[in-house]
């Protein structure tokens, strides 16, 4: 590995545990997949996640039979949980690419032990997110009309609509994330192939490894491809959530029509993405005893990234409120009044508490290093980010221009079932990933060895 390693002189905590060698890293990570008996807790978790996934499938089935009327949406609140969840999941899906691509380009090598995990999380989160724009359609069976396919009537999508941009943004993001993840997996899959004892395992991992032999030429091409993909993926981190935010900011609705949305959405996305990575890594690290690979220093870094992005988000909230007042626009002013004092006011205050107030605890070093605290704060941030999307989508819609059409939105049991169902699907996929794939990048972790403890 000829890449120049910058040395972090400030941090003293190691990025990789003492006593780890090339051999131990490989043994530990491959054994978790190939030899170790599936922990009982994991089976229980998978079972729960599976049940929730079934809940999702049932909700989807009922949705297809009856229509989106099974949800609580109405006129004026024509978008509800589906869009909230879409934005929430996409936001969560931001951490992976950010960690993989941007930190790679910035030579932040500490990312090496968490990137695989984060990328997988990204893929699954984007997968969950991508369900919602399809499900929320009144006529989902003709969803492909939104894709620019040539047809006999020469009808194209309407390219001025942000929803059309969404299709490109999400599919591109998913494709690039998937390639990035898979390309990164190839050398490790070869390691798995070589370590596996059982024949069928050798075959499966062998096929997936695509003939990787670890020759210098392979490594050369791999490095080139990985770097290029990182370069491709980097603008996507910014673009995906910017485009999602256009869904709102392009409209005329007070509370949606704001120029601050793209940066504020991206910051929020990274914020929630890191929170979700922490939520998942903390228990997995504990269960699998990976403290040597995903060290306290990683946790500390991630907590700091959260703190920074959280402050950007806080700035966004402040600017929304400021401009509502400064614009002098009666509709904007009322929007802000309604957010804070209206029937959904408690959600806005809950958002400020969970997204702004509580995360300030991360300024305290001891809390950053306390895994229980960190886990709880991450969960809080995930809830907060969901509330933020609720505030944006529902609170803006339910009271817009003409008071005669103001109404309330109450989610139904099917709204909740679909939402919780996607969480189940996400966890299910995560469990399967942990069980079947090397969850930490073996070869990239080995790169850390030469300068550990520096």
């Amino acid at each position: 590995m000829k890449r120049e390693n910058t040395v972090d002189t400030v941090e003293t905590a190691p990025l990789i545990g003492h006593g780890q060698t090339y051999g131990t890293i490989t043994d530990k990570i491959t054994a978790d997949v190939l030899e170790r008996k599936t922990p009982r807790g994991m089976l229980v978790g998978l079972a729960i996640a599976f049940v929730l996934t079934m809940v999702l499938f049932i909700s989807i089935g009922w949705l297809m039979i009856k229509g989106v009327g099974i949800w609580g949406i109405n006129i004026p609140v024509a978008w509800g949980f589906a869009i909230i969840n879409l934005v929430w999941w996409i936001g969560i899906g931001h951490a992976g690419t950010l960690i993989s691509a941007i930190l790679l380009l910035l030579n932040q090598h500490w990312r090496n032990s968490i990137n695989r995990f984060a990328e997988a999380m990204t893929l699954f989160a984007v997968g969950c997110a991508a369900l919602f724009p399809l499900l929320h359609l009144g006529r989902p069976w003709v969803f492909y009309w939104i894709i620019p396919l040539p047809d006999t009537m020469a009808l194209w999508p309407q390219f001025r609509s942000p929803l059309t941009w969404d299709v490109f943004a999400i599919t591109t993001y998913f494709t690039v994330s998937f390639m990035f993840w898979f390309v990164g997996l190839v050398p490790d899959l070869a390691t798995m192939r070589d370590t596996a004892k059982k024949k069928w395992m050798k075959i499966v991992y062998g096929v997936l490894a695509m003939g990787w032999r670890g020759s210098a030429r392979h490594w050369h091409r791999y490095e080139m491809a990985y770097l290029l993909l990182a370069g491709l993926a980097t603008p996507l981190v910014i673009s995906v959530h910017s485009v999602i935010s256009f869904d709102f900011s392009v409209s005329v609705l007070p509370g949606w029509h704001a120029t601050i949305f793209p940066p504020y959405f991206v910051a929020g996305a990274i914020y929630s993405g890191f929170a979700m990575v922490l939520c998942l890594v903390i228990p997995v690290r504990k269960v699998y005893g990976l403290q040597d690979f995903v060290t306290d220093r990683h946790m500390d870094y991630m907590a700091k990234v959260m703190l920074a992005t959280g402050l950007i988000v806080a700035y966004g909230y402040a600017m929304e409120a400021f401009f509502a007042w400064y614009s002098g626009n009666e509709f904007e002013k009322y929007m802000m009044f309604n957010r804070t004092q209206g029937p959904y006011g408690f959600i806005y205050w809950g958002l400020l508490l969970t997204n702004i107030a509580i995360p300030q605890l991360l300024w305290i070093g001891r809390i950053r290093k306390n895994m229980v605290w960190l886990f709880l704060i991450s969960i809080t941030i995930n809830i907060g980010m969901w509330l933020e999307r609720f505030v944006i989508v529902v609170t803006s819609l339910h009271r817009d221009f003409l008071p005669s059409s103001w109404d309330m939105y109450y989610p139904t049991i099917w709204d909740w079932a679909t939402y919780i169902g996607t969480i189940g699907l996400f966890l299910c996929l995560m469990f399967l990933f942990i069980r079947l794939m090397p969850m930490i990048s073996i070869f990239e972790l080995r790169q850390l060895l030469p300068w550990r403890g520096k």
Binding site: I75, A78, I146, P157
Partner: protein
């Protein structure tokens, strides 16, 4: 397989028998192993394509073959289908051109009185009702009931077979039973035979009844209708000595005083009155005068909402107020000892009436006692209004002398005395709606032989020996008179959908002894005998064609008020101030319950409350506060040992110490739509006090009931949505509505260009009474589904035009404004840019059109619509019920689940006009395209037309200083705009009185 050789079935059987084990065969042809089948197999499933020759298959040939296969793949569908000859219309019915609707004149009867209508019929299916422009009670407009009656025609819950004690029977058996019991009656001169009808104005029916009573001298005819005009008639009798019909000429009235009257929305002539009133009301076009409306009312009405001065009082206070007004005008009537305030209000009113002698009018409502009517007649005479704004004629009803309450009471007491053994109920549902003190249902049970002729197998049908399905008015012949006596011959548009005795006429004629009477013959025979015209055939055809019998309006009669009798009426003292009062009113959508099974009317938001699917106990905010009541609290209302339960709805502007309940709900047997909705008020409504009862108690039960309203927020939040000014302000600043309107913003995009037509709409807020006719007209025209109470509760009602209602000012006596909102057809439509599939686009004439079959249902357009006029099919709302499907307008797509829809400016009507104009090689004329809402509007508040034509009415209105657009600060440039509301308050009057 077009040409086949005939199959030999014997051979096939033999073959089947010879097969071993279980063999599957695809069709008879296969078994027969015919040549054609083998060839078919070969063509359809080419196991070895005949051209496939391995040895010679080169690359080029392969590609050729592939290309040809691809190209021919689509031709599979071209396999010739078997010949099934259908017979075309070799001789098509006269006048019917497929795709071109016909229009027939007839009349809809409501509460006995006719409104002339034109019914649109598509290939024999009546689909839409419009007003008859030649008919004096319509002048081209209609009310919501008339619009909705087309749905009742196709109601699948209508009674379809005769019932004998609830069991299905036949028409023949009924006729047999009828003739048997009539034989006995013939012998004894009809003793014990009674007939009960609703209010009757039909000349033919009147003639038949007269003949029947002649044939059966001991028989009696009774009339009862829950929304009775008894006090109107009795008031005239007191004033004039005999019963007269009163007609108002509001086109000549500058000052109108309504006394507990909703003359603009309900009652005989309301549609006409709304038109006349609006003519004097509208100021657009530079007029600087308008009429002034005072309303004293005990329950909020549309009239009170648009009144310049409204006084909400308890119902019995109206009489003392009119006494004081009469006294103020110099009529020496008794006044109550105690004055109940409102002095300056009354003084200003009296002054106004004084200065408008001959151009003012006092209109008492049917809910007030006869004395109020008599006093109103006296005031109108004193003011010199008779012959100008008021005229009188002979009564329009047949046999109005006896009050209906008295008539029914007599019937019930005769039944109780055992004097009735045969009762024929023609129309009406007295078991449900008769006053509770009469216990009509109990009495009916003791009648040996009872017949109910009705549209529905309702509560009364269940208690009668026989129920016979009645034909809908669009299915049968009849006649009726309008509020001014104008007769219309009601002609059917369609043969009866269900078997029965189609009409009252046929039943009466059967009783008179005719063998197989036909309504047509009965009605025609009557007019043959009574028409003055010598050429009856021409008279008949002309009358049918025009929808009215020319010259049949009753002439006005000169009558004098008997001042002595009026002055002798003694003033009653008011009920104590703290006594609670319960007011009964017909429901604004289901009336007395007769429209309960009409889904359009059930889902129609009631004016002021916007309540759907239910009735409620309306109370004022102050009264609610006094009893600690919240919306939807179920209360127990009791008085005189009688009790009803119903949920509360707090209504700003409702008089204090009063509660209003509406008739027509709590039906047990209305049908699938109307049964078990709301609560019945009949349990507390007695024959002596049909319109209010004092001294009631209201107790909270602690239970809650959900009420589905369509508007939850009632204030404009300081937004300049409904712009209004007083006449004086308007005269001083004619452009008050648009003076603060922001200038159009610059855009990078070029404007749309319109070479041909540019459609636009203008809605006059001064004229809108909030009567809802437009809402139902739109629903009927555009195949808009109903969604049900649950979906309304979820906020998913589908109306394309809605009437927003805002309150202004104090909670106890707010100003009420109505604002009909349709799609604005914005030039810069926010919905168009956000649709990802271009399902909503701008057309070359400026319409914002919705392409249903392109819509995938993202609902983004609705989110981005500032007016929230878009409606979404969240579930499958349109029904495939066969009879209801017949009502659908074939020119408008029926939308399915998952599709957005909205007002289209009745694009199908624009297209029809365009086709007609093109055929004649001309432009569409101004006024040629009339939208459904515009056509229905009684006050002509809606105008539609081509903005590119500078001579058009719409262009003139758009240039009017009153014109303003809604939310134009968003730069949407709406095509629908409003004429600001101008009111005419009396400046000398102290409103706080």
């Amino acid at each position: 397989m077009s040409t086949t050789t005939p199959l030999d079935l014997h051979q096939i059987r033999a073959k089947l028998q010879s097969k071993q084990g279980s063999e599957y065969w695809r069709c008879l042809e296969e078994l027969a192993e015919t040549e054609e089948f083998r060839e078919f197999l070969h063509r359809e499933f080419p196991r070895e394509a005949s051209v496939w020759d391995d040895s010679s298959m080169g690359r080029r040939q392969f590609l050729m073959l592939m290309g040809a296969s691809l190209a021919l793949a689509g031709l599979n569908a071209c396999t010739k289908q078997p010949d099934e000859k259908i017979i075309p219309f070799v001789r098509s019915p006269e006048l019917v051109t497929p795709g071109v609707p016909l229009s027939f004149a007839t009349a809809m009867v409501h509460g006995g009185f006719a409104t002339g209508i034109l019914v649109t019929s598509h290939m024999g299916r009546p689909t839409k009702i419009e007003g008859n422009p030649d008919h004096p009670a319509s002048l081209g407009a209609t009310d919501a009931f008339t619009q909705a009656s087309i749905l009742s025609l196709y109601d699948p819950d209508r009674s379809q077979v005769p019932l004998n004690r609830g069991l299905i029977s036949t028409r023949d058996k009924f006729l047999q039973a009828l003739s048997q019991s009539l034989q006995a009656k013939r012998a004894n001169g009809g003793a014990g035979l009674r007939i009960l009808t609703e209010t009757v104005t039909s000349p033919t029916l009147g003639d038949q009844l007269a003949r029947l009573l002649h044939q059966f001298p001991h028989a009696r005819w009774h009339r009862y209708e829950p929304v009775t005009l008894d006090s109107v008639r009795e008031g005239a009798r007191i004033a004039f000595g005999w019963i007269m019909s009163t007609r108002y000429h509001l086109d000549k009235a500058d000052i109108v005083l309504a006394l507990d009257s909703d003359f603009l929305t309900h009652g005989p002539g309301a549609v006409r009155y709304a038109r006349d009133f609006a003519q004097k009301r509208k100021v657009a076009g530079g007029k600087q005068t308008m009429n002034r409306l005072y309303s004293i009312e005990s329950s909020p009405t549309n009239v009170g909402a648009i009144a310049d001065h409204r006084l909400g009082v308890r119902p019995h206070e109206v009489e003392s107020l009119i006494r004081r007004i009469a006294r103020g005008l110099g009529i020496p009537v008794q006044t109550p000892a105690e004055s109940d305030g409102h002095d300056s209000w009354l003084a200003a009113l009296v002054q106004d009436l004084r200065t408008h002698q001959g151009s003012s009018v006092v209109i008492p409502g049917p809910y007030q006692p006869p004395a109020v009517h008599a006093l109103a007649h006296a005031i109108n005479e004193r003011l010199g209004n008779v012959g100008k704004t008021v005229s009188y004629s002979d009564p329009v009803e047949i046999q109005p002398e006896q009050s209906q309450a008295e008539s029914l009471r007599e019937l019930v007491s005769d039944i109780r005395d055992g004097q009735v053994d045969m009762l024929v109920i023609m129309g009406g549902n007295p078991v449900y709606h008769a006053p509770v003190d009469l216990d009509f249902g109990g009495a009916l049970a003791s009648v040996a032989f009872s017949i109910h002729l009705g549209l529905y197998a309702d509560e009364t049908a269940a208690e009668c020996t026989w129920h016979v399905p009645q034909a809908h008015y669009l299915e049968t012949w009849s006649d009726a008179r309008a509020y001014d006596g104008t007769a219309t011959i009601v002609q059917p548009l369609i043969t009866p959908l269900y078997a029965g005795v189609s009409s009252d006429h046929e039943l009466l004629e059967l009783m008179l002894g005719a063998a197989e009477p036909k309504s047509y013959d009965i009605v025609r025979d009557f007019w043959r005998r009574h028409s003055a015209s010598r050429d009856f055939e021409t008279f008949w055809k002309t009358s049918l064609h025009d929808g009215l019998v020319a010259g049949s309006a009753f002439p006005s009669r000169n009558v004098r008020v008997r001042m002595k009798e009026v002055q002798a009426l003694s003033a009653k003292n008011d009920a104590p101030k703290d006594e609670l009062c319960l007011v009964f009113r017909p429901d604004p959508t289901v009336w007395d319950g007769r429209y309960a099974n009409n889904g359009w009317l059930q889902e129609l938001p009631k004016p002021l409350t916007t309540l759907t699917w239910d009735n409620a106990v309306l109370v004022s905010p102050a009264t609610a506060g006094r009893f600690g009541l919240q919306n939807e609290d179920v209360v127990e209302i009791s008085g005189d040992g009688r009790t009803i339960f119903g949920p509360v709805w707090i209504t700003p502007g409702h008089p204090d110490q009063t509660a209003t309940v509406h008739l027509g709900y709590g039906r047990a047997k209305a049908g699938r739509v109307g049964s078990k909705r709301g609560f019945s008020v009949q349990a507390i409504r007695t024959s002596n006090s049909p319109w209010w009862v004092s001294g009631i108690r209201i107790i909270r039960t602690g239970a809650k009931a959900r009420l589905a309203v369509t508007q939850h927020h009632h204030l404009m939040e300081g937004r300049n949505l409904v712009r209004s000014a007083s006449l004086a302000e308007y005269v001083a600043t004619p452009d008050f509505a648009s003076e603060h309107q922001p200038a159009a913003q610059a855009s990078l995009y070029p404007d749309h260009e319109y070479d041909g037509y540019a459609w636009g709409m203008s809605i006059d807020l001064s004229a809108c009474t909030g009567c809802n006719a437009c809402v139902i007209a739109c629903q009927a025209e555009n195949n808009i589904p109903i969604v049900g109470k649950d979906q309304v509760l979820a906020g998913r009602e589908m109306h394309w035009i809605r009437i927003d209602r805002y309150y202004k000012g104090s909670l106890d006596d707010p100003e009420v404004v109505f604002q009909p909102v349709t799609c604005m057809h914005c030039e810069n439509a926010p919905c168009e840019v956000v649709c990802p599939v271009a399902a909503t686009v701008h057309d070359s004439e400026g319409l914002n059109v919705m392409v249903y079959n392109r819509c995938i249902g993202t609902r983004y357009c609705s989110n981005n619509c500032p007016y929230k006029v878009r409606r979404f099919n969240f579930l499958q709302y349109s029904t495939a019920e066969p009879t209801l499907a017949m009502q659908k307008n074939p020119e408008v797509t029926v939308r399915s689940r998952g599709v957005m829809e909205k007002c289209s400016y009745c694009v199908q009507r624009i297209s029809a006009a365009r086709i007609a104009a093109k055929k004649e090689g001309r432009e569409i004329r101004d006024g040629e395209v009339v939208t459904a809402c515009q056509a229905a509007c009684p006050s002509q508040a809606i105008v539609f037309g081509n903005l590119n034509d500078p001579e058009s009415r719409i262009a003139g209105l758009k240039a009017d200083p009153l014109d303003y657009g809604l939310l134009t600060e968003l730069n949407t440039k709406p095509r629908t705009s409003y004429l600001a509301r101008v009111t005419n308050p009396n400046r000398e009057q102290d409103i706080s009185a």
